[in-house]
């Protein structure tokens, strides 16, 4: 039903990340309307409280705006999306580098391999 979730992290966080990902990739654009809480809940197969929480988080991150009686929209301000994009990239790299160090690799050799890959 709906989409699959990782089992060890709160579902609402995974949904926030998913929407952030859609903003980064451009499948959701500035000004787009988000589905209603109920529609979204049914689409992904979670309860409406979880979706409420997701929409609240997105609003706190200033990625969405709620217009009275019209629903929730992605912010038209693309600079907010770009800064979220940068932040997400930093987080991703932090997480990656943490793993790299934990496994005992050096940043240098990993960088080397990354370069080789991108030239392939």
């Amino acid at each position: 039903m709906g989409i699959d979730f990782e089992k060890d992290r709160p579902i609402y966080l995974q949904l926030v990340e998913r929407i952030c990902g859609e903003l980064v990739s451009g499948s959701r654009k500035p000004g787009d309307k988000l589905p209603s809480v109920r529609e979204f809940a049914l689409e992904v197969g979670v309860n409406t409280n979880t979706v409420q929480n997701v929409y609240k988080q997105l609003e706190q991150m200033e990625l969405t705006e709620t217009k009275r009686g019209q629903g929730t929209f992605i912010t038209p301000d693309s600079s907010k999306i770009s800064s979220m994009r940068e932040e997400l990239k930093e987080q991703l790299i932090d997480r990656f580098l943490n793993n790299v160090e934990m496994m005992g690799f050096t940043q240098g050799e990993v960088l080397q391999t990354l370069k080789e890959r991108s030239e392939r």
Partner: protein
């Protein structure tokens, strides 16, 4: 809010529930889990005022529950002997005469969604179909608390998915709460807000599912299994 204070229940002098204290807020989906015989059904029946506590209280919005409280509570039993002489349609007509909050059209909608033939006699329905019909009848009511005893028993995995969806679709969490006993934590883990664990007649945990994920770094079922075992161990020592 539905609140339980120092609840004890004895059956032929055997303690079934001991010193249960719990608060059930409006607007949540809550799973009640525990082994067979841990007291889940008894607990739900006490909440629904179908059984009387040996001592302690069940409070609905601050006052002790009575038969009249059933106006705010829908209870779905796991009894298989369920109005077997009626058809689904007749069952809904009967419910319509019994509960002023019953909305026949809504119940029919849910029944359609769950693909139940309402013209069939209940005695000729499969276990899974009866479960779905009972669910449609329960959700056809407009109440604050839906207490469901094993709503997934007898359902195959595909149908369980439909039922889980119907929980999301047909209950307005701004006005109602679902408390359901279940063995199928995996099926409901993505739609529950809270998990309540009964063991040997005691509530040994009542947790927010997001906390289970982020504090314990586990999925509901995994957490429950390890918690259940460990709790047993520490109490034995």
């Amino acid at each position: 809010m539905l609140e339980v204070k120092n609840l004890q229940f004895h059956y032929h002098k055997q303690p079934v529930l001991q010193n249960v204290n719990v608060q059930i807020e409006l607007g949540k989906i809550i799973a009640l889990v525990g082994e067979n015989g841990s007291g889940k059904s008894t607990f739900l029946k006490l909440l629904a005022n179908l059984l009387q506590p040996s001592s302690g209280q069940v409070l609905l919005n601050g006052s002790e529950t009575t038969r009249a409280s059933l106006a705010a509570i829908a209870f779905m039993s796991d009894d298989q002997h369920y109005y077997s002489y009626l058809t689904g349609d007749q069952l809904f007509t009967f419910f319509d005469t019994q509960f002023h909050d019953f909305q026949k059209a809504k119940a029919q909608d849910i029944a359609n969604c769950l693909r139940i033939d309402l013209t069939k006699k209940i005695s000729t329905m499969s276990k899974g179909n009866i479960s779905r019909l009972k669910l449609a009848a329960a959700f056809g009511r407009d109440v604050s608390y839906y207490l469901l005893d094993e709503p997934f028993s007898g359902l195959d995995p595909l149908v369980r998915e439909d039922v889980v969806k119907s929980l999301i679709q047909f209950v307005d969490l701004e006005k109602g709460t679902i408390l359901m006993s279940t063995h199928e934590i995996d099926d409901v883990s993505r739609i529950i807000d809270e998990i309540m664990v009964l063991k040997d007649g005691k509530i040994i945990a009542h947790e927010n599912v997001d906390d289970v994920h982020s504090v314990h770094g586990m999925e509901a079922k995994e957490w429950f299994t390890s918690f259940y075992k460990n709790k047993g161990r520490t109490e034995d020592e």
